[in-house]
Every structure is written in structure tokens, then in C-alpha cells.
Amino acid sequence: MSNITIERNKQQPAGTGKPARSRTRWAVQMREMKKQKHSYILMAPYMLLFAAFTILPVIMSIFISFTYFNLLEFPRFIGWQNYSRLFLEDDVFLTAIKNTLLFAAITGPVSYIACFIFAWIINELGPKLRAIMTLVFYAPSISGNVYFIWQIIFSGDRYGIANGFLIKLGFILEPIQWLKTEKYILPILILVQLWLSLGTGFLAFIAGLQTVDKTLYEAGAVDGIRNRWQELWYITLPSMRPQLMFGAVIQLTTSLAVADVSINLAGFPSVNYAAQTIVTHLIDFGTIRFEMGYASAIATVLFVIMLGANLVIQRLLRKVGD
């Protein structure tokens, strides 16, 4: 938000005969704001765009979710109907919620722990090897559109790597349609998502481990810390709490937002909606069926789930090492 609007909004109450105490408080605020004018000016461009493309859309989405809106007619208020339809009538949405939560419940914690464990092991290596291993683990998450590799690996004919090896080793006699068989779809998506998930959180952990005060380890050894596990629990984890919180936010949010992997590997829509997630359901109603009110309700549910899960995890992580 720009500095100008803030100042104007707050100027008025100061002049309109409020009780003396609040007037002086406003006056102090005002003086403070005038003195810091440059701060607001520096922040204005970013905050304006942030408000326009992040804050405003969230608010709009909540409003639209209570309407029937098809982009052609003016939105019509229909109360909680979209939500009741979502939870009571839309079986596919329930599948989507189930898939998303199952998916997040596995990839979230596993990728988070993997990020930490591998950062921790890599941190013990020498500088050269450390740089190489960091690249090996981080590269998948930045290599962009590499889904096609996984399409080849799990391709349904015998030239697919998975089928080829299993046939050669004699485990199966004929190729499996991996991405077209309901029971295999979700596990494969989880595997691929895990492969992709050592991203920003992983880097934050690598960096965090390098900043842990080395003298703490020496002091710990004197104080009777016996092995690396005790060292990890009593020294490393508590000193890294801020990075752990940051990593949790990143990993959890990405694990709840999964859609690209699903669309690229399992197709859209997937066989019997076996790979439908909240986000793919949102894409379905928002960009194909143009039921914007309904799609906004899905977006709002997703927003609540993401924010809620993150806040709960933050609470829990504050207890680490206490």
C-alpha cells in the first residue's frame, strides 16, 4: 500500500476532535510516519503490486466463492451453496481432497526429513564433495520440464525402463500400464514428487548447518555428548530452529499444491480421477467449465487448508529441542 493513502487515512481522525489522548497518539504516529516517509516510498512499488496480485485476489476469491459466477453475467449471491455442493454432492472433490491430503501427509514429512537428513550428511563432507552432492540433490528441483524422463521410465510398453527391467529380471511377463492403473498412479506421483522436492528448503538447511556455532560442538563434547545423534538432537536441531521453520513452510506448501506432476504424468483428467488433487479440480472448474464461483470455493478451501496446516506445524516446531 502506498504511503500516501495511509497518511491521508490517518490524518483525518487526528483533526476530527477525538479524545485528547488518542489525538496525541495519532500525532506521535503521524510524526513518526513523516520522519520515515522514505521507508514508505521505498516500499510502495513492491507493496502496491503485492497488494494487487496477492492480497486482493485472496479477498476476491473469498467473496466470489459465495456467488454463482460464469464470467459473462454479473455474479449472483448464493450463500453457502457452493460449499455444500463441494462437500455433499461432488464425489470427485472428495477424491481430490483425499488424494491431496494423503499425498501431502507422505511427501510433506518425508521430503522435509529427507531435506534435513541429506543436508546433514552432506555437511560432513569436504567442500568439493559437498558442492557436488548439493548439486546432485538439488538439480532435479530446478531442471524444469523433466517429467518426460519419468514418462519414459514408467511408460506402458516394454521399452519403458521400469517394465524393461522387471521383464528382463522375470518379475513380470508383460508390461504394466503404470500410469493408467489406478493403484499405481498415486505411489508413482509420490515418488516423482519426492524426487523433485529437495529444493529451497534443502538449500536453507545446507546453509543453516554451516552457520551453527562450531564451539557449541566442542562445548558439547566436554559436557558429555557421546555420539552424533545426541549432538544432532541437543545442539544442531535447536540452533537451526529458524531454518527448520522456514523449510517446513516451503515443503508443506509445495506438497499441498501438487498439480503439475499429476497433469503431466497421469493425464488430465486421470483414469477414474485417481490422480485428481484439489488444484487440478480447481483448474478443471476454473479454466474448462468456467464455474468461477465454484472454483473460488475450491480455492478458498485450499487456502484454509494450506494456512491452517502451516500454522499448526509452526506451533509444533517451536517445541523442537525444548
Binding site: 494487487a52 518426460f148 538449500l203 536453507a204 478458498t300 494450506m306
Partner: protein, 288 residues
């Protein structure tokens, strides 16, 4: 002497079996991480008959550049000159990166170093926005773009990238550790806040803005237009390569070649800037 002592102390808490099993774990999972990429790299150099070999092979036997030559021929035939896709992606990525680094740094500086009313609220909002993704805001965003008349322009992708929250967050955390004395000295010399930001702060947060460059580069390099771009001549490299990869069996080799070229760019950038990025991430932590 001192360092030897330290080494020895470190070894006290390290059992051989523990180290051994951890490194075995690292090697196994490392192989799982690396193999698909190794396979992709090898595929790009495989002749077509080797791509469809049974049983499938990981490594190429008779490396060839045919796929890259075929790619060149294919590019020569595309309806929109291929250089146009390249220009589009470079333009979007370049503008987005420069704009974001400047705007996010300008906003991060007061958040990190000044005290003013509304500061906590603004920063909390940015942190909160790290907790949900673009999917949540996609529908209203389309409407806002349409009001602003930005649909089917580069700007629909570029402008929202300016306000990418993760960049501001990392930059602010990094700036917090700049010594106040540095800023005080500049202030005593009579520099305005804007000059301090541009001539004192910015040169001192080089690792952080390199990180922002990489982050935004990755975000925009892989963009397919986010559903805002319809005109063929405005579409991105990522979109065009997707068309090639989807060409099916006949294009399998060419697809691998184009994927290799596309992914080598962000990976190279990361290799070149790895140490700077790690330096920035060290300050990424969330304080209570």
C-alpha cells in the same frame, strides 16, 4: 595445532559404523536422484534405434549429435520463427528478474533496518503469503489482469513476478545482518536514504540479490505463460519445447535434446552461484 585438536574432538563423536551407514544411505539416494537426469542426458545423444532398445539401456553406446541436428531442422520449419520463442523467454525472464531484484530490495531495506508504523503488519502479511501458492489466487488474478488490460501481453507474467514474496523475504532476512554502523556512517556523511539504499546497501547484499536472480530466473525460465498468453508469437520457449516433446515416438530423440538444452541453463547458473546462494539461505530462518 589448534585445528588438529579440533579435528580430533570432532572425531570423538563419530563412530565408524555410523559414518559408514550414513554414507551408504547418501550414495543410494544420491544415485536415485541422479539417475533420471543421467538418463536424460544420455538419451539426448542416443540414435533413434538405441532409444527403443530392449532391454532399455541407461548409457549411450554410439553417441551421436543427430538429435540436435534434427532439432535444428525442426526449428527451421516452425510456423513462428523459433528465435521468437527464445526472445520471448529471454525478455520475460530478463525484465522479471531485474524488476524483482530492484523492487524487492527497495522494499526489504526499510523492513530490515527502519522502524515505522505498519512494519510488522506488512512483513507478517508477506510471511503469510509464503504459506499458500498461486493456485489459490489464479481466478481473481485473471480478472485483475483483464481489468488492467494485460491479458495476452508479456506483462501479465512479468508484473506479478515483481512482487514474488519469497524474494522479499530472503532479501529482508539477509539485510538484517548488515552492520548498522555502515548505514550510520553514510548518514553522517549526509547521504539520503535513497542513496544509502542504492550505494551502500545494494553493493553489500550481492549474495542475496544473486539468489533472487536465480530464484526468479527459475520461476520465469520455465513459465508457459500461466494461461495469460494466447498469441503464438508471444509464447515461451518452455511452451514450444513442450510441443516438441509431445510429438510422440518419432520425436523422442529431439525431445530429449531440447529438454537437455532447457535444463542445462538453470543448472549451470546454479553451479556458478552456489556458494552465494548458500550464504543467503543461511539467513533464511523464521524467528518467532
Amino acid at each position: 595445532m589448534n585445528s588438529i585438536l579440533k579435528m580430533r574432538k570432532k572425531r570423538v563423536n563419530r563412530s565408524f559404523m555410523g559414518s559408514f551407514s550414513l554414507f551408504v544411505l547418501l550414495a543410494i539416494v544420491g544415485a536415485f536422484m541422479a539417475l533420471p537426469l543421467v538418463y536424460a542426458i544420455n538419451s539426448a545423444f542416443k540414435p533413434l534405434d538405441e532409444i527403443f532398445l530392449f532391454p532399455p539401456t541407461l548409457f549411450v553406446r554410439n553417441p551421436t549429435l543427430t538429435n540436435f541436428v534434427d532439432l535444428m531442422t525442426l526449428l527451421g520449419q516452425s510456423w513462428v520463427p523459433f528465435s521468437r520463442y527464445i526472445f520471448n523467454t529471454f525478455f520475460i525472464t530478463g525484465m522479471g528478474v531485474v524488476g524483482h531484484v530492484i523492487l524487492a530490495s527497495a522494499a526489504a531495506y526499510p523492513l530490515a533496518k527502519h522502524v515505522f508504523p505498519g512494519k510488522a503488519l506488512m512483513f507478517q502479511t508477506v510471511v503469510l503469503s509464503l504459506m499458500f501458492t498461486g493456485a489459490v489466487t489464479s481466478i481473481p488474478n485473471y480478472m485483475i489482469m483483464s481489468w488492467l488490460g494485460l491479458i495476452d501481453t508479456y506483462w501479465a507474467v512479468i508484473v506479478p513476478a515483481f512482487a514474488y514474496p519469497l524474494g522479499l523475504y530472503l532479501m529482508k532476512q539477509f539485510m538484517e545482518q548488515l552492520p548498522d554502523s555502515l548505514l550510520e556512517a553514510a548518514k553522517i556523511d549526509g547521504a539520503s536514504e535513497y542513496r544509502i539504499f542504492w550505494q551502500v546497501v545494494m553493493p553489500n547484499v550481492k549474495p542475496a540479490w544473486l539468489t533472487l536472480v536465480i530464484l526468479l530466473f527459475q520461476l520465469l525460465w520455465g513459465t508457459d505463460g500461466n494461461g495469460f498468453i494466447y498469441s503464438e508469437q508471444l509464447k515461451t520457449l518452455h511452451y514450444a519445447s513442450g510441443q516438441i516433446i509431445q510429438g510422440g515416438i518419432a520425436r523422442a530423440g529431439v525431445g530429449a535434446a531440447v529438454a537437455l538444452i532447457l535444463m542445462s541453463v538453470p543448472i549451470t547458473l546454479f553451479v556458478l552461484s552456489q556458494s552465494r546462494i548458500i550464504e543467503t539461505m543461511a539467513t533464511s530462518g523464521m524467528k518467532d
